[in-house]
Each structure stands twice: as C-alpha cells, then as structure tokens.
Subunit: 321 residues, 2 copies
C-alpha cells in the first residue's frame, strides 16, 4: 500500500474515494502525525452538509429510526454519512448496551458511508474525532451527516451544539426519573420522537411529552419542538408508522433554519464548538507533554499530598503564561 | 466590614470561624482576585477529612439520607461539612428537580457546616469551586465532608474520583433504561443504597442490584460494592430502616481503605483530579483572555465558516507553544 501524502489523501477523499476516506478517518481518529495537516486541508471542502443528530436512551430504537431516515434520504437521492458514537464503558470494559447498528441494508449502497466512533467514555462527551469525521464526510460530498449518540450525558449536549436538526428519541413508559433528567433536553431537541408508539401507554407518554414542551414557553418566531409518534420496527414496511411525518418535520425544521437565517447561528455554534475542542486538545497535549511523559506529574501530586505545594502553585510553575 | 487579607481570612478559617469561612467560600466560588492566594494558603491545612459522596437520580432521597448520615456522625462527635451541588439547568433556567436539601435540623449545630454550590450546568461535572470548598471545610476542621450531587452525568464520575466512599442511591422500579445507564457506575460506587425500600417492588430491585454487582466480577482483595436497603423518610425515627447498617458499612469501607493502604490511592486520585481541574481552568482562562475578551473569537469563527482558515491553524496561531 503506497504511502500517500496528506494532500494526496484529501484529494482522493474529495473525489469520494471510500477506501482512502476510511483510511483518512482512521489516521485522524488515532491522532497520527498527519492528522492536523489532513484536517487543515479538509476544512475548505467541508461545512455544507445538513447535520442531523439522533439521540436518546439505549433501546429506544435510534438505530432503526436512523436506518429509515437514511432510506428516505436515499429515495431523495441525497448522499448520507452516518456516524454511530459507540458508548463503551471504561468501567465495565464492554459495551454499555447490547444494541448495535442495523445498517446492513445500506452498507453496499455507494451513496451511504457509515462509521462507528468510540465515545470519550461514559458520559464524557463526543470525542474530537467525531467532529473531524463529520468534516471528512462532508468533503466526500455527503449531503446529510447523521450522528447517532447514546443520550446519556455530555454527548447529547455536544450533539445539540453541532447538529442543525436534533432528534431526541423517547419510548413509552420511560419513567418519571428519566423524564425529570430530560427536562432541559426535551426543550432544546428540535424534534421529540416517541418511538415504539404501538406499545401500551404510548398515548399517555405522547400527551406528557407534548404538555411538558408546551409548558416550557418559547419566544415568538422560535421553533417549538415537535413531538412525532413512530413505529420504526415492523415485519412489513407498511406497518411502520410516522416515518413520513418525521421526514416532513425534519424538512420543515430545515426550512425554518434557512428562512430565518437561523442557519448562520447553527453554523457559528458548530465552529465555536469545534474550535473549543481543538483548543482543549492542544492544551491537554501541552499538559501531557510537560507532566505525564516526564513522570513529573506523580512528583507534583505527592508534594501536594505532603502539603509542600498545591495545585495553584504547580499550575503557575508549569503553565507560565 | 473590615477587609481582611487572604492570610488573615485563612487564619480565621483555620480557627473554625464560620462567618469568615462563608465569606471565603463566596470569594473562591466567584473566583475573585484573592482566590488563588487563599487556596494556596488553605492547602497545607487540608486533605485529612473523609469525603463521602452521595449520588443518585432526583427523587431518590439523597438529601434525607445525607441528613441521617450527618445525624449519626454528630452522634459520634464528628464535625461534618455538607456540600450540595445544585443541578440548575442552563436551558430551563430553573432547578432541574424540585427536591431541595432538608437540613433545617442541623443548621444551628456548630459542628455542621452546609453549603450549596452551583453545578457547572446540565451534566457538566463538578465545578472547580466544589473542590476548593471541600478543602476550605477541611481547613475549618471538618472530620467528614459529604458531597451530594445529582447522579446524572459527569458530576457522578468526578465525585467518584475524589470521594473516599461513594454512595449511589437507587429506588425500587427505576426501570430498565436507568439500570442500563447505570451499569458502569454501580460497579464503582462503594455502596449501593436501595432507598424507599418500603415501596412495592423493593425486593425485586434489591435482588437485581445484588445480581448485577455479583455478575461484574472483582479482583481478590478488592472491595465488592455492597447493597443496603433503607427507608430514610418516616414519621418516627424508629420507623427508619437500614440507617445503622448503612453507617456500619460506611465505617467498614473506611476501614478497608486504611487496611490495604488503599487510602493512598484515594488521596492520589483526589489530588490528580484537582490538579487537572486547576490546569484546565488556567488554560480556559488563557483562551478566554486571548480570544473572547478581544472579540477575536468571533472573527476566527467567521473566517473558519468562510473557509479562509480552520480550527487547527487558529489554535497554532493563538496557542503558540
């Protein structure tokens, strides 16, 4: 396998070369030396896709919903990138949830590009790699990039910052605890999907969702989050429910974004988030280089425990800016 | 009110002056100019208290449990600091949950010092102030500091890093979704408390908790997380359940920490966490000073949106290390 330069790789990514795109993503995800150079070259080719976030607790049916959204978008001849952020727990070592993406039907479609990403760990937020991979998929020419995350923490918040349209997937009877935890999130997701709406209790859950949103209050002209009931899993396509309504609502939200120039705010928020993440990574690397690699960190910590110094004095000393 | 120097304030804190301690905490929490100077002086007087973390979803009864733990520790003549991390949602503006600490019975006790802290926002983790306030309470002479957080994200993880003993409070019938989300956490909390154990379904929940822990597997000599059933709310003290058993288990865990020199690991982890937080704050301030205050951040973001630059080049330019 010939070693390509960063420029050569990006050139091939831009032509839609899937094999090279996959290799580029791996380099970026593993933060290899070429990483920054590649991303600097990717950026001018990126930024135009619609980003749809799909989040919600495990078992809500995010993957099957994503699958249907991909199918519908393909029917509109859109190229679709899908990033599944994989919530592996650093504690139990394994996957937090058993459900895995069921995307088999799309894996042979050249208009769909799917990638799983590691999350930063339990509730730790989206990894920097996720932002980079969205950019790479945009450079490949994807019209829409769907990012699917487990809705259980910082991931969800990060996703809201970068997605144009954010879906929060619920199921009936999730319990008051979850509802309470979601109180803030429900109001900022653009579309609340009540999936598994054929289950008992769905009507009550649907009403609860709608009531909690209408109780929140929104400014005039602002998008009021919608609630859509869906059935994303069925033996026959005609037994699915709400998928068309969901697609219409996604389109309606996209039109809303463009009508009011809200899209500028969305783009700004996305870059602001990306910039913050890149800054933090650079700083964390600086700390790492100054401390961990030299074994100095352990010395400092022990001195602090002994009372000889403190974190404030250490940070003055190490980060002398 | 005479303006005290940082040294004078810390001197008074160390004598246990509650009024000055409260003022010191406010200065530190608001990151006033004296903040770092105060903390540098506080550190040598701190580090010796037992830190007990109490976490769990809203409505689980964390506050009433904390209240009983305080009562029991006071019975042992321990001085107790309590920090309640207040989960205000940045989105809805209000409190995420209705339950507030019910600590009235202790507020007049000079051996108890209670402080509410803002959280960093929805799922954003413990604020740096929390770490500082623990140190200040230690400097005041508190034997035990209890930190109570809403168990719904990074807060919980941060708490596990700093607490010697961490309690995770459950209630019966929390639902499979929550259980799945908690899968990793349950194994690392030192004590799982099934509160409201008089409710229907408690026996099943208790068995489920025990089974999921025994399924996890632990190394020989490691602490195997305990499960304790409690009733923390009752009209009469004699109708409470499990509080004595909980206190015994907390003591047992503390003995375990000291027997195996695990306490060194706990102290190291705490300082490591604090050091990381102080570093990050210093770096964030650097970014803020370089970018936000001068309006340059907006310029950079717009240039990135226009494709003229990218976050990697901007960070090279701004953080030239």
């Amino acid at each position: 396998m010939k070693k390509l330069s960063a420029a050569e790789m990006v050139e091939r990514v831009v032509t839609g070369d899937r094999r090279i795109a996959a290799r580029t993503i791996t380099l970026v995800e593993n933060e290899m030396d070429e990483h920054h150079e590649i991303m600097k070259l990717i950026y001018p080719h990126s930024g135009q896709a619609r980003i749809i976030g799909v989040t919600g607790v495990g078992g809500a049916g995010k993957s099957t919903l994503t699958n249907h959204i991909v199918r519908k978008l393909r029917g509109q001849d859109k190229k679709v990138g899908v990033i599944v952020v994989d919530p592996s727990s650093p504690f139990s070592g394994g996957a937090l949830l058993g459900d895995r993406i069921r995307m088999q039907s799309h894996t042979l479609d050249p208009g769909v590009f799917i990638r799983s990403m590691a999350s930063r760990g339990y509730l730790g937020g989206l990894s920097k790699g996720t932002y980079d991979v969205i950019r790479i998929m945009e450079a490949m020419g994807m019209d829409v990039v769907i990012v699917e995350t487990l809705g259980a923490g910082q991931d969800e918040i990060d996703l809201i910052h970068i997605a144009g349209t954010c879906l929060l997937v619920h199921t009936p009877n999730m319990g008051d605890d979850i509802q309470a935890m979601k109180a803030g999130i429900m109001e900022i997701a653009d579309i609340n999907v009540l999936n598994k709406a054929d289950q008992e209790g769905a009507d009550t859950s649907f009403r609860q969702l709608r009531n909690s949103i209408s109780a929140a209050g929104f400014e005039a002209g602002a998008w009021v989050p919608k609630v859509i009931a869906t059935v994303s899993m069925a033996a026959k396509l005609e037994d699915l429910k709400g998928i068309d309504e969901l697609m219409d609502t996604i389109a309606e939200h996209d039109a809303h974004l463009h009508a009011g120039n809200h899209i500028d705010r969305v783009r700004f928020a996305r870059v602001e988030q990306e910039l913050g993440v890149v800054f933090k990574e650079k700083m964390e690397r600086k700390i790492y280089n100054e401390l961990k690699s030299t074994g100095k960190k352990k010395e400092y910590i022990n001195s602090i425990i002994e009372g000889a110094t403190n974190p404030y004095s250490v940070s003055d000393e190490v980060l002398n800016f």
